[in-house]
């Protein structure tokens, strides 16, 4: 008997025992749903992060307050992350200037300082990150403007300071109305809006709920004296590691000690990669247990089915079915249950991804091909492993005993 006929027979039998088949199928559906959905979310999240960081530019170095204890040379991994100690920032705009002067391969050095504050326009007000930076900031982050322009050198020395609003800040203060040329009050200072940023997503950064002005303006209007971060852009032909060493040397010498840390963009990506691999491994492990449980469920259902169909098996053998044909029939039944369950699970997980994408637009809603392949493979392996025992039980049925079976 050909494989096709075994599959047809299996479909017939499944239809005859619909209730049991659906029960067996449900376990596989849930397991595949979990596996496909979680793997797809992780995959899409990592892609999103990679895209964002690559968009920011891999030739960037960020100086941050804090220190990494026990960091081994050249390695940036989970233990590095766990060894970061928080410190008050000692970074200053002068550090940025000094590095720019002393390290030729640094093409831009942009300090950023920030404090939570309120912004007011007419009766509207909102909480923002009042952020001071320089004219090169938009180029470092490749920012796009929805309206107006970015800060320029003329804005830096004016009596009527200019400000650029993040997308959400603009939305909160102006709604859909034009903000350019309007006056916004922050810390009691009237700012003229010269630009509005387009929404931007970059993991670990918030651009949308900010208002950007000149660095010294923030220092003068608040009690913040230090930079929260300094962003360095490295020239295309220089070695990132070498330039990082030079930046480290300049700032350490000026501070008289190492009271900051440097994070390279590619290191951040590497860390994300490590984290994703760890989470993926845990996910696959947990979902593996789920497959194990659903496999045991399917095996139990199929053992019951074999018991119920003992007379049928005996009859089939009596009229000429060979052992391998009985084995194939029952294995095919289990595999079909697994594949249908897996297909339904994949379908539902695609629907859930779309739903998730509706709420979190940063995460892609695509179902990666490898996730489909892994899900189908898991279900097939589960079907084979747990379908074997019932199929062997069916093969062992002796026709003469089965014909007497009540």
């Amino acid at each position: 008997m050909r494989l096709f006929r075994s599959i047809t027979l299996a479909f017939h039998s499944m239809w005859d025992y619909k209730g049991r088949s659906i029960l067996a199928l449900l376990g596989m559906l849930v397991s595949t749903l979990l596996l496909a959905f979680l793997l797809a979310v992780l995959h899409n999240f990592q892609n999103s992060v990679d895209g964002q960081v690559s968009g920011f530019g891999l030739r960037q170095i960020v100086a941050m307050p804090g220190r990494v204890l026990n960091r081994k040379v050249g390695q940036f991994d989970l233990s590095t992350l766990m060894s970061v100690t928080t410190m008050n920032s000692t970074l200053t705009a002068q550090d940025a200037t000094n590095v720019k002067k002393q390290v030729p391969d640094v093409v831009a050095a942009v300090p950023q300082t920030e404090i939570v504050s309120s912004a007011h326009y007419g009766n509207a007000s909102t909480e923002i990150l009042y952020t001071g930076t320089t004219v090169s900031f938009d180029k470092v982050f490749r920012l796009k403007l929805a309206e107006g322009r970015w800060l320029d050198h003329a804005d830096m020395n004016t009596e009527a300071p200019s400000i650029v609003l993040g997308a959400l800040t603009k939305q909160a203060l102006f709604g859909k109305a034009n903000a350019i040329g309007k006056t916004v009050m922050i810390k009691g200072v009237p700012f003229t809006v010269v630009g509005v940023l387009a929404p931007k997503e970059l993991i670990g950064f918030n651009f949308d709920e900010r208002a950007y002005t000149e660095y010294s303006m923030v220092v003068h209007t608040t009690n913040v004296t230090h930079a929260s971060m300094i962003f360095f852009s490295v020239s295309p032909h220089a070695s990132i590691d070498q330039v990082a060493g030079q930046i480290d040397g300049v700032i350490s010498k000026d501070h008289g000690r190492k009271d900051f840390m440097l994070v390279k963009a590619d290191e951040a990506l590497h860390l994300v990669d490590i984290l994703m691999k760890l989470i993926t491994a845990v996910t696959v492990g947990v979902v593996g247990v789920s497959f194990l449980v659903s496999g045991i469920g399917i095996m139990n259902v199929m053992l019951l089915v074999v018991n119920e169909r003992t007379r049928e098996i005996g009859l089939r053998k009596a009229v000429g079915a060979k052992s391998y044909q009985i084995l194939l029939q029952f294995l095919a039944e289990t595999l079909i249950i697994c594949l249908i369950g897996s297909g339904l699970g994949l379908g539902i997980s695609v629907g859930l991804l779309k739903l998730l994408g509706h709420y979190y637009s940063a995460i892609s809603t695509q179902m990666p091909v490898y996730v489909v392949q892994v899900s189908v493979l898991f279900s097939l392996v589960t079907g084979l492993l747990f379908g074997l025992s019932p199929a062997i039980k069916a093969v062992r049925v002796q026709p003469v005993d089965a014909l007497r079976y009540e």
Binding site: R5, E312, A318, V319, G320, K322, V400
Partner: protein, 228 residues
């Protein structure tokens, strides 16, 4: 066509050995209709199962058209049963959810026939047993007599050399029984080789030869009413 020589069958029942068949030697000729009668537990059905290669004897030899069939591998035994032996069971052994046609088709699923050839054969044998109008009906909805007709059609569909029937009229009332016996008479007239186990003297009477079995031994063999 069939030769059994010194067939013994012993089974273990708890701590006891029970001799179910005791030195059975028997020859059945091509085209012969043999009935086997005897009290319950005398070994009739076991003998039929041995003849049908569903059960192996503990000892003895079995030749089917001179072939020592007890030496066949399980796979070849399955093929042998499929091509050369047709079974009719007292409890019909039909798949209740399948149609009449699908039930009859069952042995052909394990042959190399195409779907069209299988369907043609099924229709032909169902016509022979008067069930051609109910091919699509589910087996569960048939009467006892109809079920047995379908079971006979299934036994005939591969055109076997030997038909084995285990109490084919055991579960039937008068009218249905006589219909089934008519079919067996017709098969006998067509020259089919038939072995039928029965309690029913009417059924035994249509055979050429009647064997009485008791405590696993053939105690009497005589020409029956059907002998020419």
């Amino acid at each position: 066509m069939i030769s059994l020589q010194g067939i013994h069958k012993t089974i273990i029942d708890g701590r006891h050995q029970v001799r179910v068949l005791d030195d059975i030697s028997l020859a059945i000729h091509e085209g012969e209709f043999v009935s086997i009668i005897g009290p319950s537990g005398s070994g009739k059905s076991t003998l039929l199962h041995v003849l049908g290669l569903l059960d192996k004897p503990t000892d003895g030899q079995y030749f089917f058209t001179n072939e020592p069939v007890l030496r066949l591998s399980p796979g070849r035994l399955a093929t042998f049963r499929n091509r050369r032996i047709g079974f009719v069971f007292q409890s019909f052994m039909l798949m209740p959810r399948m149609s009449v046609l699908e039930n009859v088709e069952l042995p052909l699923l394990y042959s190399r026939l195409s779907r069209r050839e299988r369907r043609e054969r099924c229709i032909a044998v169902l016509q022979g047993v008067g069930m051609q109008d109910k091919v699509k009906q589910r087996a569960i909805h048939l009467s006892g007599g109809e079920k047995q007709r379908v079971a006979i059609a299934r036994a005939l569909v591969n055109d076997p050399d030997l038909i084995l029937a285990d109490e084919p009229t055991g579960n039937l009332d008068g009218a249905a029984k006589s219909g089934i016996l008519q079919i067996f008479s017709k098969l006998k007239a067509q020259g089919k080789t038939i072995v039928m186990v029965t309690h029913d003297t009417d059924a035994a009477a249509i055979a050429d030869r009647c064997l009485r079995i008791q405590s696993g031994r053939i105690v009497d063999a005589k020409l029956a009413g059907g002998a020419k």
